[in-house]
Amino acid sequence: MTTAPAAEVIRPPRPHRKGRWGRLVMTSVMVLLLLWFAVLLLWPGLLTGTDPVASSTEYLTAPGGAHPFGTDQLGRDVFSRVVFGAQPVLAASLGGVLLATLAGVTIGIIGGTAPRWLGGVVMRVVDVLLALPVLLVALILIATLGAGVGSIIFALGVAYTPGFARVVEASVRKLRAIEYMQAARLFGSSGLRTAVRHLLPNLATEVLVMASSAIGWAVLTATTLSFLGLGVQLPAPDWGSDLAAGATSLSTAWWLATFPGLAITVTILVANFAGDWVMALSDPRGRRFPTRLRPFRGGSDSLPSAVAVAPGEPAALASAPPTLSIPEESA
């Protein structure tokens, strides 16, 4: 299909003029937020002592007092359900993105380094999958696998893989044209060794940025699926299914749907901020944290500019700016 210059969609913010204090505040806020989400994912019991599935006789009480987010039809505490409902959503979206990253990097490297015919076949298959919307791919897979968090992780992983593979393949092709890659090949470095020693370290920054930018989308897709009843089954708490359940009594008990909905919104917001933050961190032009990402340093620095394109490479690649292209939802 069309190769979109999707890089424009998610642009690194320009916080560079904010100075040292601004950066420090930004970093602390991000670290605190990420810690908060880590607690939600790993140890939700730390934030509330109430059991999310324990019913009581306090049916449908409005938010306030002992129940800051109110209670539902069965007298269950909505706050506790929102706290515990984070786990399946975060697990599904993070797991899905992780799976897609691993698969996408592997396929992208194969597509970019394998013999021409094999790479061609692999990338054509990727193109076909790219033509299908993410949600449709996920729906198809869940139709075959059955509902559940595991299915959502797998479905998201498969659905996001083609987009990741395309991005990785494009950078691998660019990287291969650089002198030290050609030197490695001349010195007899095997394909696998070249991939691990030379390609992966240089891809790391880009892959990190790509994955962190995809998390927001993954949260949206994961909650959409559980909203449709294809994720965690009731009575277990989950933002998507709780939102769907609360939707029916929207006019009488607004808090049932509103709090899970707000939780999803805040999560996507934070995920997008975090994605922008990671992108700004790894932006060599920003020079914000020269040493912070040392293991990944050199990644975007060494991504070749337009000059280093192999002869015979499509003109479109040659004229493309050396910015990252982040897959959109469909990718």
Binding site: T2, L132, P133, I140, L228, S319
Partner: protein, 312 residues
């Protein structure tokens, strides 16, 4: 030139279509359970009857033969019969298509009429109040899930104020809230995209030269900057079409609209595989067609695109 370009793009979409039909075809064999049994579910059929139906459906033939039959039927517009209603799937899908297309089109319209002006205004004066406003709008637009936004809008405008029907009644009025909730997120993406492009285009040499030639600012904006900024926007709309279409599926479920999406969703839960297959083919096909149209549109706006694809 133009015809060669159209032809090349058509040829390029053939493998994609084959792939999509292959995925749709394989699905029936991936889903656990026997389709013949699924069709006869609840009718107390004997094992012989199930076997007879299996043979009738061609499920006993080798896989490749089944695929060839599947493609042959597809080319005749035959998508099989629904397990639930036993009526042709093609007919059932087509009767629900207009509703979905209305919603998809409405959402795209919302995205374009809010995203394009907002992006332009923000891009012309970066750092202005309007720019900050557009940034806030787009950030929230991307973050609020459309199904949550749909519920909030229904609560306020459907239930509290009673301006629009909360549940679909087939009127155009009932389309407004679903279209806004679905289109909002794409408006946000479009705003950021266009803003970035406009800022970039204003820095370019040709704008300087146009100014030097005494071109008016409005002419520079409309004839040069806007035209160049609209190219990635058109591409983005094509790429997002599939997502809007599937997003329409979820929105339809919320508003009780009898469209393609809600039909697909129920068919997945009831394992009505022919319908799921048909929907995949239909959505995949429309995605390919839309992207073809988008590519042609882009090449009409931007002659450079033709050259770029030619060397691809």
């Amino acid at each position: 030139m133009a015809i060669a370009f159209v032809f090349r793009r058509l040829v390029a979409s053939v493998p994609v279509m084959i792939g999509i039909t292959a995925i749709a075809f394989v699905l029936i064999h991936l889903v656990p359970g026997d389709p013949a049994r699924a069709m006869l579910f609840g009718s107390n059929a004997s094992p012989e009857q199930v076997q007879a139906l299996r043979e009738h459906l061609g499920l006993t033939k080798p896989l490749w033969q089944q695929y060839v039959t599947f493609i042959g039927q597809l080319l005749h517009g035959d998508l099989g019969t629904s397990y639930v209603t036993s009526s042709p799937v093609a007919q059932e899908l087509l009767s629900r298509t207009p509703s979905t297309l209305q919603l998809t089109g409405g959402a795209m319209l919302v995205a374009i009429i809010t995203g394009v002006p907002l992006g332009l205004v923000a891009g012309i004066r970066p750092g202005s109040v309007l720019d900050h406003l557009s940034r806030a709008v787009s950030f929230i637009g991307v973050a609020v899930p459309y199904f949550f936004l749909a519920l909030l809008l229904v609560l306020v405008f459907g239930i509290q104020l009673g301006w629009v029907p909360a549940i679909d009644d087939g009127s155009l009025l009932a389309l407004i809230v679903p279209a806004i909730s679905l289109g909002w997120g794409y408006a946000a993406i479009l705003t950021r995209l266009i803003r970035g492009r406009v800022i970039e285009e204003y820095r370019s040499e040709y704008v300087k030269s146009a100014r030097a030639r005494g071109c008016s600012e409005s002419r520079i904006l409309l004839r040069h900057v806007f035209r160049n900024s609209s190219i990635p926007a058109v591409t983005m709309i094509g790429l997002q079409f599939g997502n809007i279409l599937t997003g329409a599926a979820v929105t339809e479920v919320i508003f009780g609209r009898a469209g393609l999406g809600s039909f697909l969703a129920t068919s997945i839960t009831t394992k009505n595989i022919p319908v799921v297959q048909g929907a995949i083919v239909l959505i995949g096909l429309s995605y390919v067609v839309i992207n073809l149209v988008v590519d042609l549109a882009v090449s009409a706006i931007d002659p450079r695109a033709r050259v770029a694809t030619a060397s691809d």
